[in-house]
């Protein structure tokens, strides 16, 4: 019985191995080389990679734009995608810590293991903010122990991440190196120009302080010289108590800081309370490409945040 099962399994393995071999060895000199398959952890990284690769590569994201990248399940179908990937691009700084390690382990793909050529952690190329200098403790909530991972909302840090991506693509696909570098330079130029424009518009809006739900906007505020009045969530990952909401309303009134931004996926129970208590309007804002219909690419994503700030002023 056991012998039979072992035999049939061995047969299955042999068939499957030869099947996958015949597929991977297909490209010859005459047929065009198969497009590299790039997998990103977030949809913003997918969009940024797309700016560089255009139609040269197949790029997919594990997180859909409307999903909070802090929370995802390590679905086996994601492992299947990771199994086929030539490159995995991640945000890093523990943003994906709850789910990505299991996907990488379950992928059975040696190419994308940490430290291998097909693994790119974009946070390795930026300077992080809010890196804890003392012992971290979850009494203070679900803090990210290596620093705030939401750095892609800063266009200048996004440029650094894009450079790392384009270098990696050039390394894996040297035939198209010049195209990747050209695209990267064009994107950088466009984004720098936009950043100057956003700076001016934010200055013109007169808004100097922001209230936000999670510390998602830290890098954005830092870049555009805005101050944070306070966070709605009591501690990272911990929803606000009524007491905390009262406290934040008091602070909003004291500091005359009426611009409240929140990622579009957070619950809005507390937003209704702010409206009732102090007639403060909350702006649900996309912080990932694809989180709202209009945020179809990176520039439109940041444009949306800038518009939210401008509309704070209009009220």
């Amino acid at each position: 019985m056991l012998k039979n099962i072992l035999l049939s399994l061995a047969l299955l393995v042999t068939v499957a191995v030869s099947y996958s071999d015949s597929h991977s060895k297909k490209p010859s000199d005459s047929t065009p080389k198969k497009k590299l398959y790039i997998l990103t952890s977030t949809n913003t990284l997918r969009s940024l990679s797309q700016e560089i690769a255009g139609a040269l590569l197949k790029i997919e994201s594990l997180t859909k734009g409307k999903q909070d990248p802090h929370y995802l399940s390590a679905k086996p179908s994601y492992m299947l995608k990771a199994n086929k990937a030539d490159l995995l691009i991640i945000n890093g700084l523990d943003l994906e810590v709850g789910w990505l390690p299991n996907i990488i382990a379950g992928s059975k793909n040696p190419k994308i293991q940490k430290g291998k050529q097909g693994y790119l952690d974009t946070s390795d190329f930026i300077t992080a903010l809010s890196v804890p200098t003392t012992k971290v403790d979850r009494f203070f909530g679900d803090i990210h122990p290596f620093g705030n991972p939401h750095f892609l909302l800063d266009p200048i840090r996004a440029i650094q991440a894009v450079k790392a991506i384009s270098n990696k693509l050039a390394e894996l696909d040297p035939n198209n190196k010049t195209q990747y570098i050209k695209n990267q330079e064009m994107f950088e130029k466009k984004l720098l120009k936009k950043t100057t424009e956003w700076e001016q518009r934010i200055k013109k809006s007169g808004v100097k302080k922001i209230v936000s739900y999670h510390s998602s906007f830290e890098y954005f505020l830092d870049r555009f010289d805005l101050k944070l009045t306070g966070l709605i969530e009591e501690k990272p990952g911990i929803p606000p108590s009524s007491k905390h909401i009262l406290h934040i309303v008091k602070k909003i009134k004291q500091e005359q800081s009426f611009c409240v931004l929140t990622a579009s996926w957070y619950q809005t129970k507390w937003a209704k309370k702010l409206k009732q208590m102090a007639n403060i309007l909350v702006q649900p804002t996309a912080i990932e490409v694809g989180a709202v219909e209009t945020a179809t690419n990176y520039i439109l994503l940041i444009e949306g945040i800038v518009q939210s700030i401008e509309s704070c002023k209009a009220k």
């Binding site: 072992l6 399994l9 929370y71 399940s73 179908s77 523990d94 793909n109 293991q113 430290g115």
Partner: protein, 381 residues
């Protein structure tokens, strides 16, 4: 003395585990399960009360499991060793009645360098349906399914051995695993896992397991590192199985943002044949006291989990074990569970059980706290 040394080592590692994480340290986490339990019995039938005195030599079996106890403290290390291997170690400290046991639960390495294959060597929980390879803090209910307890005892099916897993290139997730371990006896396991995405938010999983006792050992093995009392005086309440079959089907639905979800799992287990040697493994649940090992047994268990709000879970489970002739229900158990998970790191769970063994009903209520410290816990699927 040996115990004291181990405890000191354990506490030192715990202290290390809670220091600031760095980018090169292994992921270290500590899980603490505390359990308070109270059981009630309907007036026992005459047959049962006679049995009581006759079986007084059974020692721990008749000790009440009521009261407050440390269900388990588990220390878990996980790290890539290099780009070729990853390592996994877990130590468990559990209270068995009046004493504590420190166990090396798992210590294995997995390969990372062979496309579509994972080689594993070391001590590990084998696959068997949905449950056996779970660590206790990931159990969907406070206790494992009865059939798992009946077949594998307190520690589950766990031993030193090797395993090969193969992920097929089929368009859906399809994995085949062959495992062989030495625990009480030499066992072999064949596990097939298939999972389909029905929609963006729902999946269907079909798992098939075949387990076999390849070779009986005359002197059963035990892996307890330290034990204050000798646990081998537990009498045999575990089935001495030869062939086991498990078919499990799971449907799962999750909304995009982790606020609502639902899981429905149904498992069918069939055990065939019996070994000659006695088992030494202690069973876990209070319900198994009056169960006799059987030659053949079949079991059906089914449970459903609802995540009602982000932090609240409501669950139900029904289990039946049939006798060897497939005619009589030997045991049935119904459980409901309410859990409050304030964050990903803590859960407080209340479980109510109704258990019918032969003709007698008993009831149990249990409150468990499940806390995790250190490295971020994984969102298992």
């Amino acid at each position: 003395m040996k115990l004291l040394n181990s405890l000191i080592l354990f506490l030192l590692t715990v202290n290390y585990a809670l220091a600031v994480p760095t980018k090169t340290n292994p992921d270290i986490s500590l899980n603490i399960l505390l359990l308070g339990q109270k059981s009630f019995q309907d007036k026992p039938s005459e047959k049962e009360s006679h049995k009581g005195s006759a079986h007084s030599h059974e020692g721990h079996q008749h000790q009440s499991t009521d009261g407050v106890s440390v269900q388990e403290v588990e220390l878990y290390f996980k790290s890539n060793i290099d780009p070729y291997w990853t390592g996994n170690i877990s130590l468990g400290l559990a209270q068995h009645g009046s004493h504590f046991d420190l166990d090396l639960e798992t210590a294995y390495i997995d390969s990372l360098f062979i496309p579509n294959f994972t080689l594993r060597a070391g001590k590990f929980y084998t696959f068997f349906g949905r449950h056996n390879d779970l660590h206790s803090h990931y159990y969907p209910f406070i206790d494992p399914p009865l059939i798992n307890q009946k077949l594998f005892g307190f520690h589950g099916l766990n031993g030193v051995g090797a395993s090969i897993a193969y992920l097929s290139p089929l368009p859906w997730y399809s994995e085949a695993v062959i495992q062989t371990i030495k625990e009480e006896h030499y066992r072999g396991i064949l596990f097939l896992k298939n999972l389909w995405d029905l929609t963006d938010q729902s999946t269907l999983e079909l798992d098939l397991t075949y387990a076999r006792t390849i070779k009986e050992l005359s002197k059963p093995n035990s892996f307890s590192l330290v034990s204050i009392n000798n646990i081998t005086n537990y009498i045999n309440q575990i089935d001495l199985w030869k062939d086991l079959y498990n078919l499990s089907l799971t449907w799962k639905w999750q909304d995009g943002n982790n606020i609502n979800s639902a899981v429905w799992t149904t498992e069918l287990v069939y055990s065939n044949g019996k070994l000659s040697k006695q088992s030494t493994k202690p069973p876990r649940g209070l319900a198994l006291k009056n169960l006799k090992p059987t030659k053949n047994a079949a079991s059906l268990n089914s449970y459903i989990q609802f995540q009602l709000l982000k932090n609240w879970w409501l669950q139900g489970r029904a289990e039946v074990i049939l006798d060897s002739k497939w005619k009589q229900i030997e045991l049935q158990k119904y459980s409901t569970l309410l859990a409050w998970t304030a964050t990903e790191y803590s859960a407080v769970r209340l479980q109510y059980d109704m258990i019918k063994i032969n003709a007698d009903w008993s009831y149990a209520i249990a409150l468990q706290t499940n806390m995790s410290l250190g490295a971020h816990p994984a969102h298992l699927y």
